[in-house]
Amino acid sequence: MQPFEFVEPRTIDEAVALLSAQPESEVRIIAGASDLLSEIKEGVIAPRRLVSLGGIPELRGIQATAEGLRLGAMTTITEIAQHPAIVSRYASLAQAAQGLATWQIRNVGTLGGNLAQRPRCWYYRHPLAVCLKKGGDRCYALAGVSKHLCVTGGDRCYIVHPSDTAVALSVFDAQVEIAGPSGSRSVALGDFFAGPGRDLTRENILEPGELVTGVVVVQIPPGPLYQRGEANNTPLPQRHALSTAERGGGGISEVRSLYLKARERETGDFALVSVALALELEGGIVRQARCALGGVAPVPYRAHEVEEYLQDKRVSGADAVHAGSLALSHPRPMAGNGYKVPLARNLVKRAVAELLR
């Protein structure tokens, strides 16, 4: 392992300054370090300086705000998995956090780190393979083992985004807060991730010197909205919506969401395919549906056709099998990952059946 300097700024501005002071290849943010240190030890990256975010208090914790919930970038996965408001209102996020990696990693791994996690592609991680993502001249997966790679959205590079929380957050209106040398900005979660078509060496739109400071998810109603195997038809006192967009009609709504993850072992494993689904229901009718898939694309994949199909459906009239069949509109599986297509369709089917039960 190449020696590195460890610095611990006290403010976001200091962190940005430290990140900007060196060429991008020589500096990395260190948060929980659960993945970063493996990348260094395994020779995938060789930074000279690590900028720790551990000493910046405002990056930590979960606060209720007027817009919804603000989750600091340094919030641990365990904190998310156990936070009462997340467990009760943002079930898909809580479930994604609960099923992420292992206890030990959840205790140190952070939301920011998970959203910005580098891919687990075998070739990206291989010490002998200098692939396109590492600045090399080819993708080894094309002639190699594509079992874990994408079935849609590949473009010279065929990674899948490894983050569970990214998929789970995709079904809520979430904004990613970013600080950088030219100030702060905020982008919609869906715009934060970027496929290989934009830049082969990145998975998001962060510019050199920028860091994620937090995520804000839109307010959705309190109370136990969805719990597995338990119908909840209790009318809610006020109107809430999946998105902040104003819609006509008024009335009473509830939001249900869940996260399903297919993996090879029960813990310490990334998703082969995962599904986050959120439904806003009003009077037995789906007012809005959000569906996102993990493990299928280089970014969290929004299954818009599933959403459109469920829109305005009566709960009793929705066909889960049909919804599932819409999961991936034009999949282009590789030689060894065709199994992901039926897997994704089945998971969506199950998610729809479960949420509409």
């Binding site: 991680r125 291989h126 002998l128 195997g229 297919a262 072992r265 060894g336 990952n337 199950r350």
Partner: protein, 753 residues
């Protein structure tokens, strides 16, 4: 077994446990010697290449680098555990990705690593072969043109230059047996590399001491054999080499190889300082000694009533680039491949083949999980074709006590039927199959199935020595050349002492020996220790006991045969008891006894295992969940039920990983799964409820108090039991391990509609 024991048979916890969980126990990487250097090797990125030149000048100039060695700098001696085909550092040719081509000793690991990056190696790639079946084709590149000159090679002539060993076992004439059959079935099965997955990677410290002796600390479980292998490679006589005792952080068969030991010596010699080499896990997964992959074709003839008339197994074990990590001269893998079934005609043709891949070595029950998977899966495929229940089909063909085995052995007190029946009963094999409510509710198309598999395996044999001393304070000390691999035998051996000398087991002090302190020891492995180590300690304890009894007879006039040892006292009926220490003190010093035990394997004794897996398979996604697992083991006296169960639990879990998850994935000779994120071992969350039935054999085994063996017995039948359960659940035959969801889906799709 009605004999009653004091300590034997008690589930006592590990005497050595507290030191391990508190970190007090030392392992090789924990040791620090004055002037210790860090050693690291440069490894080949090519599966087969000629080394045209190596330029290490920049590395040598790097500050903090104390030595850089290439194949030019050390003798060309080939080394190996038996077959000596392995260059300590490659000089002219590399034959696998990960082969060592240069070594650096530096002030710290970072400098060593940096120095490796500065070494320029010019390679010329050569044609390579990766598939063991292809390696036997006429057109395949010959990987070891000088094979016939290698020391320690098998005696049989090579059928192909890439076949390093072959063996044939069997009885009768299979052609005749197939002629008697109504149906003949032929299937081919494949199994992958499995890594042992021990916590501690290979580690060694070498120091050439002031007398020019090599002092070594190394996590090798066969130090006496390693001493010889070192001697052959480095040219020092064996008595100039001392392997010091050290804890070993897990073995599972993989810690018997020399790995970096020779190179560490050369670095120490070159620098005049001690050198420590610890492999990281990338190196472990790339270049240690995993379980051999195999391609296995089974041809079986049966009559309409299900009687097996003949079986022919052709087993091709992929050795990788070298055979140096196997301790046997000829091939022994696959000897139990035919299964414990009655037949008049059997033939096993087993090959070990060179390919341009990682050299394989031993792992828990070497050879058996591969061939048991093939054999036992085919049994179910045949039973289904015949319309017979797989249990009935097995019962119909299973060797009964008193009958000849399919290789012509006469197993004593063969426990096949009672053990199989016990597994079937305990597992509820014949009960209705119910999808568990949580699965039924999740929207999948889950089907439940049950599968059986059986296997048998010998009790290990070999040689060990032990010494026991009792001092004037009553302190009992056990000396053993066996190094602790973590299997629990340091407790079991203390229990033997405790039983014989009547002292609490956890007050017995245990001192591991170096290779200077005993003549020879076979080391740990091969289901050997309870038998061989146990008998050595038992013999030493009996010797001490006899001396103490004679002393008591002499001093107090007690009848020697009536002296008893209990609660740290020595007594005889009608006399005032004395403490063990007081009696020993009267000897004028230590009372010592030692014993050397030598044994050959008893081919007429075996341990039978029968297992039943219950799985749910989702027809929509191919996902397999193991709901329940039952194992029935044929046992003798169980010396420590807790340690015994630990071996069963661990064996089943390792078998479960082999069945469902683990695979060192190769692509053109490069292993793609180089971390434990990619090479997936099961976690505790993947382990189904395990039921164990111990079926007591009347004959018992050769271990002290009549124990048999358990370390390797539970692993081999796990994968076929699960595969057979998948077959039962959804009709999908998966003939290649691991049984992943996509392979199940593929098998479902290829089913006839």
């Amino acid at each position: 077994m009605t004999t009653s024991y004091q300590t034997i048979g008690q589930p006592v916890s590990r005497a050595e446990g507290p030191d391990k969980v508190t970190g007090a126990a030392l392992y090789t990487a924990d040791l620090n010697l004055p002037g210790l250097l860090a050693g690291k090797c440069l490894r080949s990125p090519y599966p087969h290449a000629r080394i045209k030149s190596i330029d290490a000048s920049a590395a040598r100039r790097l500050p903090g680098v104390r030595a850089v060695l290439t194949g030019q700098d050390i003798p060309e001696n080939l080394v190996g555990r038996m077959l000596r085909d392995f260059p300590m550092l490659a000089k002219d040719v590399v034959r696998f990705v990960g082969q060592k081509v240069a070594a650096v000793a530096a002030d710290d690991l970072d400098i060593a690593q940096h120095a490796l990056n500065l070494i320029e190696v010019d390679y010329e790639e050569l044609p390579a072969v990766f598939d063991p079946v292809e390696a036997l084709e006429a057109y395949a590149p010959v990987l070891h043109p000088n094979f016939m000159k290698y020391a320690g090679r098998a005696d049989d002539p090579q059928e192909h230059p890439n076949a390093m060993a072959r063996a044939t076992w069997g009885i009768g004439n299979v052609a005749e047996g197939f002629a008697q059959a109504d149906y003949i079935f032929e299937h081919t099965f494949r199994t992958p590399h499995q890594h042992q997955g021990y916590i501690e990677p290979h580690a060694v410290i070498a120091q050439v001491d002031g007398q020019g002796r090599l002092q070594m600390w190394v996590n090798c479980k066969t130090p006496f054999l390693l001493r010889r292998q070192l001697s052959e490679g480095i040219g020092l006589p064996q008595d100039r080499i001392r392997i010091n005792p050290i804890n070993i952080g897990g073995d599972f068969g993989g810690k018997g190889s020399f790995m970096d030991s020779h190179v560490a010596y050369w670095l120490s010699k070159a620098t005049g300082r001690p050198v420590r080499m610890v492999m990281n896990y990338i190196e472990e997964l790339m270049a240690a000694n995993p379980r051999h992959p195999a391609v296995m074709t089974f041809k079986t003839g049966v009559k309409r009533d299900g009687t097996i008339t003949a079986r022919h197994a052709r087993l091709i074990f992929d050795s990788g680039a070298y055979g140096a990590f196997r301790p046997q001269k000829g091939i022994t893998y696959g000897i139990g491949a035919i299964g414990p079934y009655r037949m008049e005609h059997s033939q096993i043709d087993s090959y070990l083949v060179y390919t341009n891949k990682v050299p394989c070595g031993n792992m828990r029950a070497p050879g058996a999980p591969q061939s048991t998977f093939a054999s036992e899966c085919q049994i179910d495929l045949i039973a289904r074709e015949l319309g017979m229940d797989p249990y009935q089909f097995r019962l119909h063909n299973l060797v009964r006590d008193g009958e000849e085995s399919p290789l012509g052995h006469h197993w004593r007190n063969f426990m096949g039927k009672p053990t199989l029946d016990a597994a079937v009963r305990e597992a509820g094999y014949q009960a209705p199959k119910m999808t568990p409510p949580d699965l039924a509710a999740d929207g999948g198309d889950w089907k439940v199935g049950r599968g059986i598999a059986v296997c048998e395996r010998h009790v290990g044999a070999g040689s060990s020595t032990a010494k026991i001393s009792v001092d004037g304070q009553g302190q009992v000390t056990l000396y053993t050349p066996l190094q602790d691999t973590g299997a629990g035998f340091y407790t079991m051996l203390r229990q033997v002492v405790s039983e014989e000398l009547g002292v609490p087991y956890n007050e017995v002090s245990l001192v591991p020996w170096s290779t200077d302190d005993a003549r020879f020891d076979s080391g740990v492995g091969g289901s050997r220790v309870t038998h061989v180590g146990g008998q050595a300690v038992y013999g030493a304890a009996r010797a001490v006991r006899a001396k103490l009894a004679a002393l008591a007879a002499d001093l107090y006039g007690w009848p020697e045969s009536q002296v008893v040892f209990k609660e740290s006292m020595v007594a005889a009926a009608g006399h005032q008891a004395v403490s063990l220490g007081a009696l020993a003190a009267r000897s004028g010093g230590l009372v010592e006894g030692d014993f050397t035990y030598d044994s050959e394997r008893d081919e007429d004794l075996t341990c039978f295992t029968a297992q039943v897996a219950e799985v749910a398979v989702d027809r929509e996604t191919g996902q397999v969940k193991v709901l329940n697992f039952t194992t029935a083991q044929d046992v003798g006296t169980v010396l420590n039920p807790q340690a015994h169960q630990g071996q069963i639990d661990g064996g089943v879990m390792q078998g479960l990983g082999y069945a469902l998850l683990e695979e060192l994935k190769h692509e053109d000779g490069r292993i793609s799964t180089l971390t434990f994120g990619e090479y997936k071992m099961p976690t505790i969350a993947d382990i189904p409820p395990l039921r164990t039935v111990l079926v007591q054999s009347q004959s018992g085994g050769p271990s002290p108090y009549g124990g048999k063996a358990i370390g390797e017995q539970p692993i081999s039948a796990v994968a076929p039991a699960i595969a057979n359960a998948v077959l039962d659940a959804v009709g999908a035959s998966v003939t290649q391990l691991p049984i992943t969801a996509e392979r199940v889906l593929q098998a479902l799709r290829s089913q006839p509609a």
